[in-house]
């Protein structure tokens, strides 16, 4: 399909979104990510039955943690799409990039940058 999507999206592959834990998401922000989204399989289509549903719950929990920390839960988002939905993947990448552009850089990274 050779679809374009913003080059700022760095992909980390996991065997299933059920592998993604709260600490992985937090550490991404701790190490300077401006936003993180999880692209899981469509709900009901998980090869491991509930991996993507578990990921959604962990994302919700981490969003609240990020709010408490002061980074903002809106920098984290769960999406669901199938492996056959290339255009949707590109659309989500653009959508999330736009959202983060509006929010500006991760406050942690902004502070770290200062001399």
């Amino acid at each position: 399909m050779r679809l374009n999507y913003p080059p700022n999206v760095k992909i980390i592959k996991v065997p299933c979104t059920g592998k993604v834990d709260v600490i992985h998401l937090l550490q991404a922000f701790e190490r300077g990510a401006d936003g993180v989204y999880i692209a899981g399989c469509l709900e009901g289509d998980c090869h491991f039955l509930r991996g993507n549903l578990r990921a959604r719950k962990r994302v919700e929990y981490t969003k609240r943690l990020l709010d408490e920390i002061g980074i903002g839960g809106e920098r984290l988002q769960m999406y669901n799409m199938s492996a056959a939905q290339g255009p949707r993947f590109a659309e989500v990448a653009r959508e999330m990039t736009e959202r983060i552009m509006t929010l500006g850089p991760n406050p942690i990274r902004a502070k770290n940058r200062k001399p």
């Binding site: 408490e68 920390i69 002061g70 980074i71 942690i108």
Partner: protein, 222 residues
Amino acid sequence: MIVAERKPLEQISSMIESNSKVLIVGCGECVTVCSAGGKKEVDILASALNMIRIKESKPIEIRQETLERQCDAEYLEQLRGFIGEYEVVISMACGAGVQFMAEKYKNSLVLPALNTKFIGVTEEQGVWSERCHACGDCKLHLTGGVCPIARCSKSLLNGPCGGSANGKCEISPEVVCGWQLIIERLSDLGQLEKYEEIIPINDWSTNRDGGPRKVVREDLRL
């Protein structure tokens, strides 16, 4: 197990406001099982505090450790070599662990990261509920294995009271009437005659009313 819950990040972060070198210590027993203060939660707290402090432009150095448990001196001893290097210690154990660490390390300021809630069970993954008040005089043999002290909101020994309706307690429609449970259980066991017996006035001196409690087993002492 002892069930606990993490304090709000804001509260923990304000406790260590003026410190820049912090040791966070988790506990591998009850609070690991109830996902409040095990290794995983130590990682999460450290990461969160680190981010809060970077945001406030007050960087912090955090060391993370998780002990087998914090209510036994031999495990606490494992911190001896380096605990003195830290301005404060945040313990993610229950109230007992926090206090025991403070007792063993008199020169260290030990702070609690959890609110210790109750002695309870894992009802299902992610759901814990209270079962025991540690009243010091178990009555479960009289009540079909359902505790009137812990499960009845009034800790009545001869219930239910007038607040029981449709099997629920008057304090909340979500709280099951403990005495309803007792009667149902005794009935299932064919021991309803036990319900007819009046349980005498309770001696609360085995509970907290008798002051801080202690168990001594001379045969086990060294």
